[in-house]
């Protein structure tokens, strides 16, 4: 007979361990337990502390530049260490254009791969295919840069850029000498680097779409593509957007590979063939050689701006992915 005793019992078993523990604690466990918990709490605090430290160092380091230039820092396009005149616009421009170009190339490819692996490909091929795509994420940035310098750039300057100039030169986005190094090369290498991120998140989000959603659309007489478009992609769009923004966050902060191919020239050019410069690359090239407090401070301010932008972008992405996979044990598949 289920009396009050039984109810009490079921309550005890459903209590989480950390609440149940004090009741069951035996003698001799108390002091070590307290030490254990404080040690773990200290580790947690360290994580918070690191972020506070990052913010503090960036803000205090950029104070000098902020006082000297204010908001004009982000609107000015002069970068003149000799005359102590600093404006970050060319770097912001280079970062934005190269990252957006990367998205333009990477998004259709990543979504296509994710759709193929979850909806079309034979089951035994699924694992190996996603493994190979994610292998791209294991290649270090410097190796991407090395490959781009010796393979991609000769390819671009010898074949791709002359071809683009001939066919699409009238758009004025593809004109000028085909140097190879430049915004276009940076965009392509960034695209290859962010494909594994976007495609793995898209795959995860597509797999969360309930199976009966697919079956329902098919039962209405849809072809497979119509099923994917109406039943799958439309349901998953918020999550896919989250994956895209996460890829954007990675592209904005990517340093070494971009520095090796973008040409490192602080200018705002219309053509994608022209060399440029990004916020991350200027830090990589000039930080250790910066002479003068204002110069250094200006570079730290670029770092602060980069930090804030990537945090906002990442938080937005997390939120979007979270709204889709909520309730599911969201796991990044390694």
């Amino acid at each position: 007979m289920p009396g009050p005793q039984a109810v009490e019992d079921s309550k005890v078993t459903s209590v989480p361990a950390h609440r149940a523990a004090p009741l069951l604690r035996t003698s001799g466990g108390e002091v070590p337990d307290r030490i254990f918990k404080s040690a773990l709490t200290a580790c947690g605090l360290a994580v918070l502390g690191v972020l506070v430290l990052i913010v503090y160092e960036l803000v205090s380091g950029s104070a000098l530049s902020w006082h000297a230039f204010g908001f004009k820092f982000f609107g000015g396009s002069d970068w003149d260490p000799v005359n102590v005149l600093f404006g970050a616009l060319p770097f912001i421009f280079g970062t934005l254009v190269s990252s957006l170009l990367a998205l333009l190339i990477a998004v259709p490819l990543s979504v296509g791969v994710a759709v193929f692996t979850t909806e079309m490909c034979p089951k035994p091929l699924r694992g190996p295919l996603s493994f190979f795509v994610e292998l791209l994420a294991a290649i270090p940035s410097v190796i991407y840069g090395l490959w781009a310098m010796f393979v991609l750039i000769p390819l671009l300057s010898g074949y791709v850029e002359p071809f683009l100039a001939k066919t699409l030169g009238w758009t004025r986005m593809f004109e000028g000498p085909p140097l190879g190094v430049g915004i276009l090369a940076a965009g392509i290498i960034l695209a290859i680097m962010i494909i594994p991120i976007i495609s793995s998140i898209t795959r995860e989000v597509l797999m969360v779409v309930p199976q009966n959603q697919r079956e329902g659309v098919l039962a209405l007489g849809a072809t497979r593509w119509e099923m994917i478009r109406v039943g799958v992609l439309r349901n998953a769009r918020a999550g896919i957007l989250g994956g895209i923004i996460l890829g954007l966050g990675r592209a904005l902060g990517e340093t070494i590979a971009v520095t090796m191919v973008i040409g490192n020239t602080p200018q705002i050019a219309k053509s994608l063939f022209a060399p440029g410069y990004t916020m991350a690359s200027v830090l990589a090239n000039e930080f250790s050689e910066a002479t003068g407090d204002v110069y250094l401070s200006a570079l730290v301010e670029i770092g602060l701006a980069l930090f804030l932008v990537t945090i906002i972008v990442n938080a937005l992405a997390q939120l979007l992915v979270w709204t889709v996979t909520r309730g599911q044990p969201a796991r990044g598949h390694a």
Partner: protein, 293 residues
């Protein structure tokens, strides 16, 4: 999944139109094309890396230090050892903090403080590595000089969020009943967590650590103004130290053919280091060497 075909098997239902069927096939073709387009750079990068790497690597590369500019030969032995030193420092700092914070989140973290740590870890994961380099420079290099320690700390900061989040996820997969059984036997909390919960999740936790390790092993940006690089042997933590990714970066940007050759050899060694460390641990974990899986 039922394969849609043009004919309708249900009487009275019109067949799927020609246009819709063609669209379906075209879109399937487009999806296959995207897969091919993504696999092409993968194959191209690995293929060229192996081709140039095998052709460039030799005994001198693995055992000698760099020769002065203009002299042929020499190697990156000091950079390989330097990388091992820096990665060792990073792991010694990053792994305990990461695993500790992960255990905290899984076992005590169902509160506001836990949520704050979780969010912070996710934010830290997205911080560009070059920014972490600036912060490590500001704390450890400014006024003291470049050092292996500063590079190790920068890389440790990058390891922590990944390890924290995977450790938490792995520990949460351990059934609650296992913990309760341990408490029922009178085993104290700390002992239960370390010997039962953590031990059960060992393979997952180690996989997380290896993912973090693989991520930082090839990092160049945070080392640029922390460890700086060095042409000579160095095993002191407070001195500028050579690192493999840094050396590859420097040599790739140089105008000398022999240095380009060595950059490829270095890249080959680096990718082998990363892939083999991950593969070895995966294999060991699967074999159960690290305890219950």
């Amino acid at each position: 999944m039922p394969e849609p075909n043009g004919r309708s098997s249900v009487p009275g239902v019109p067949p799927i139109s020609w246009r819709r069927r063609v669209t379906d096939h075209v879109m399937t073709g487009v999806a296959v094309l995207t897969v091919v387009l993504v696999l092409v750079p993968l194959v191209a990068i690995f293929g060229y890396l192996i081709y140039r790497g095998v052709g460039s690597i030799n005994w001198a590369f693995l055992t000698q230090t760099p020769k002065p500019v203009g002299e042929l030969g020499g190697g990156m032995a000091n950079a390989i050892v330097g990388s091992a030193l820096i990665l060792g420092v990073a792991s010694l700092i990053g792994v305990p903090f990461g695993v500790g914070a992960g255990i905290y989140l899984a076992e005590f973290g169902r509160n506001r403080f836990g949520a704050a740590i979780r969010f912070t870890a996710d934010v830290l994961n997205g911080v560009p590595s070059i920014v972490i380099g600036i912060v490590a420079w500001a704390i450890l290099v400014r006024g003291r000089g470049f050092s292996a320690l500063a590079g190790g700390v920068a890389l440790a900061i990058m390891m922590v969020p990944t390890i924290t989040r995977t450790t938490e996820e792995m520990l949460l997969l351990v059934p609650q009943a296992l913990r309760e059984a341990a408490y029922g036997l009178g085993i104290p909390r700390w002992r239960t967590t370390l010997s039962i919960t953590l031990r059960t999740a060992t393979s997952g936790v180690i996989t997380g650590i290896m993912l973090a390790f693989a991520r930082i092993a090839g990092e160049t940006a945070p080392l640029l103004f922390t460890t700086l690089g060095n042409q000579f042997w160095n095993l002191h933590l407070n001195q500028p130290t050579a690192a493999l990714p840094l050396q590859i970066y420097t040599y790739a940007n140089s105008p000398y053919d022999d240095w380009h050759r060595q950059a490829w050899a270095g890249a080959f060694v680096l990718i082998i280091l990363i892939v083999s460390s991950v593969a070895a641990v995966r294999y060991a974990v699967r074999r159960g060497t690290f305890g219950a899986a």
